[in-house]
């Protein structure tokens, strides 16, 4: 059992089968009573050698694999993969495809954030938030079904465009879902953000400074909650984001609560982006192509591109050798880096804070371990 002189402190292994670790990972924490004095995250339970697997597949066959990187952000991951191959091929996308990708990405972002909010509810001990969020999420999963026939692993983007155009009445369904959601989100805010018990659980926990966040490489809403004003959609635009007017919510407090607020605001902004993109799509004639033909083989070279995943900065680095299979494909997962900062996040917190703090990272182990 316990050895050595530090009998007043003990190591607790939280995970891999623990209610707080949403997925298979372990956070070993050393506690002094209820206070965390040391922490050590351990991952690797899901390591499949994703990048190595890709080296043996032709380019289009990797799209469904990219979907499986994260169950709730499959759209952005396959988008990122298609984007890096398009840059390697040096092709220009048709307008319709670019806007469709924006719509699909934002639907994905909203449902991913809702999944996160649901997890925050259970981590803080309230099941109502969980069920209400999943109820709202269903409407966006239904939109996924309408758009590409699948709820989670969407397999929608293609190299050179998207798989199919919008089905009939998709814009009507999409706008209905968005308008309904904007009202329903206030309901969820009323039970979380306006409840002082909820806010007290999040305020003042997991505090990081701006310098720490930049140095530790934390990205996404966790970074924007610490005062770093950076969003790849705005600052390094891709697809049609450069033509869409939206705000990037940034808060300066750097605690769990500001990360929570940033994500809530992002959901509203995503609704706004969908609205603008839909309005723009209506002006593009239906006869406009949504996909272009691309060659099977990719010319030799190295290519890097990045995208704003719901969880942070997703980056892919492609080395192509002129064949129809990638020579090397590197995936930079935002959660992989964010979870490596677990120690500074939970140091000094109480045991009860660990789920609340780590929930703001929005764990997704498929992309972390790859």
């Amino acid at each position: 059992m316990m050895k050595g002189p530090e009998l007043d402190k003990m190591w607790i292994t939280m995970g891999p089968q623990h209610p707080f670790s949403h997925g298979l990972w372990t956070l070993r924490v050393q506690v002094d009573g209820e206070i965390v004095v040391d922490a050590e995250p351990e991952i690797g339970y899901l390591h499949r050698g994703w990048e190595k697997e890709c080296e043996n597949r032709i380019y289009p066959k990797i799209i469904p694999m990219a979907d499986r990187l994260c169950y709730s952000a499959s759209m952005t991951w396959s988008h990122l993969y298609c984007k890096v191959v398009e840059e390697a091929l040096d092709v220009e996308l048709p307008d319709r495809a670019r806007y469709l990708r924006v719509v699909a990405d934002e639907i994905c972002r909203i449902q991913s954030h809702l999944m996160w909010l649901a997890a925050v509810g259970t981590d803080l001990g309230n099941l109502t938030v969980f069920l209400w969020c999943l109820r709202e999420r269903e409407f966006f999963l239904d939109l996924n079904v309408r758009l590409c026939g699948q709820r989670l692993t969407t397999n929608y983007p293609r190299i050179g465009g998207v798989r199919n155009d919008m089905p009939y009445y998709f814009e009507r369904d999409c706008m209905r879902a968005v308008e309904r959601f904007e009202k329903a989100l206030w309901e969820i805010i009323a039970i979380t953000d306006e409840s002082s018990l909820f806010v007290n659980r999040m305020k003042g926990t997991g505090i990081l400074t701006r310098e720490q966040v930049a140095n530790l490489g934390i990205t996404g809403p966790a970074m924007r909650g610490t005062g770093v004003d950076f969003d790849i959609r705005r600052d390094d635009p891709y697809a049609a984001y450069g033509e869409i007017d939206f705000e990037v919510p940034v808060l300066k407090d750097g605690d769990s609560y500001s990360r929570f607020r940033v994500r809530i605001e992002e959901m509203f902004q995503s609704c706004e982006i969908i609205r603008q993109a839909m309005a723009k799509l209506e002006t593009i004639p239906k006869t406009h192509p949504y996909r272009i033909k691309v060659p099977r083989a990719v010319p030799e070279g190295t290519h890097v591109t990045r995208i704003e995943d719901p969880r942070g900065e997703g980056l892919m680095y492609l080395v192509s050798d002129g064949t129809d299979k990638p020579y090397r494909l590197k995936v930079r997962s935002p959660v992989f880096v964010n979870v490596s900062a677990a120690k500074p996040l939970v140091m000094g917190a109480r045991v009860a804070d660990i789920p609340a703090v780590m929930a703001m990272i929005d764990m997704c182990l498929g992309e972390t371990d790859r």
Partner: protein
């Protein structure tokens, strides 16, 4: 522009000129070749090839003077006759993504660790170590991360064949 003040949002040409004057022999620039796709984005990409002796110095310079606060990723590529370590750095103020590639010969698979420059590079270097066998000198905890601790091989090297590939 004085040379020791921190430049918050350096432009493409600033970075090019400053790095060229500071590291005239050891760092070379690779020009962008993209024509069609996202010409805007290509203005925010810089590709450097550096000698591994100056890597740590270059990284510290980039972080402290040119404000590349964020290390997006560190990865390795197995070119069979040599290895290559690739660093992606980004600047939060102008959205610039900078790439440094460093060649590592097979008979001496070591390179300086940048984990003390950017904490975010820590796990990336561990990953590159366990998958490619590149030793990062000065890394605080260079252990296997994703693969089991008892592995004695480096699965992402080209010499490591998958089943049915031999």
């Amino acid at each position: 522009m004085s040379s020791d003040a921190k430049i918050e949002a350096p432009s493409y040409n600033d970075v090019k000129a400053l790095v060229a004057t500071k590291f005239p022999k050891t760092v070379s620039l690779r020009e962008n070749t993209k024509k069609n796709s996202r010409a805007d984005n290509e203005k925010r990409r810089i590709y450097f090839k550096a000698d591994r002796k100056v890597l740590l110095e270059l990284c510290t310079y980039l972080r402290d003077k040119l404000n590349f606060e964020h290390a997006s990723s560190v990865t390795a590529v197995d070119w069979v006759d040599h290895m290559e370590v690739v660093y992606h750095l980004s600047n939060y103020f102008n959205g610039m993504l900078l790439e440094i590639s460093v060649d590592v010969p097979l008979d001496d698979l070591t390179v300086d660790s940048v984990a003390n420059v950017w904490g975010g590079a820590n796990w990336h270097e561990r990953e590159a170590y366990e998958l490619f066998g590149i030793v990062f000198k000065g890394h605080p905890k260079l252990e296997r991360l994703l693969t089991p601790k008892y592995y004695e091989f480096y699965p992402f090297r080209k010499s490591y064949k998958l089943r049915g590939q031999e």
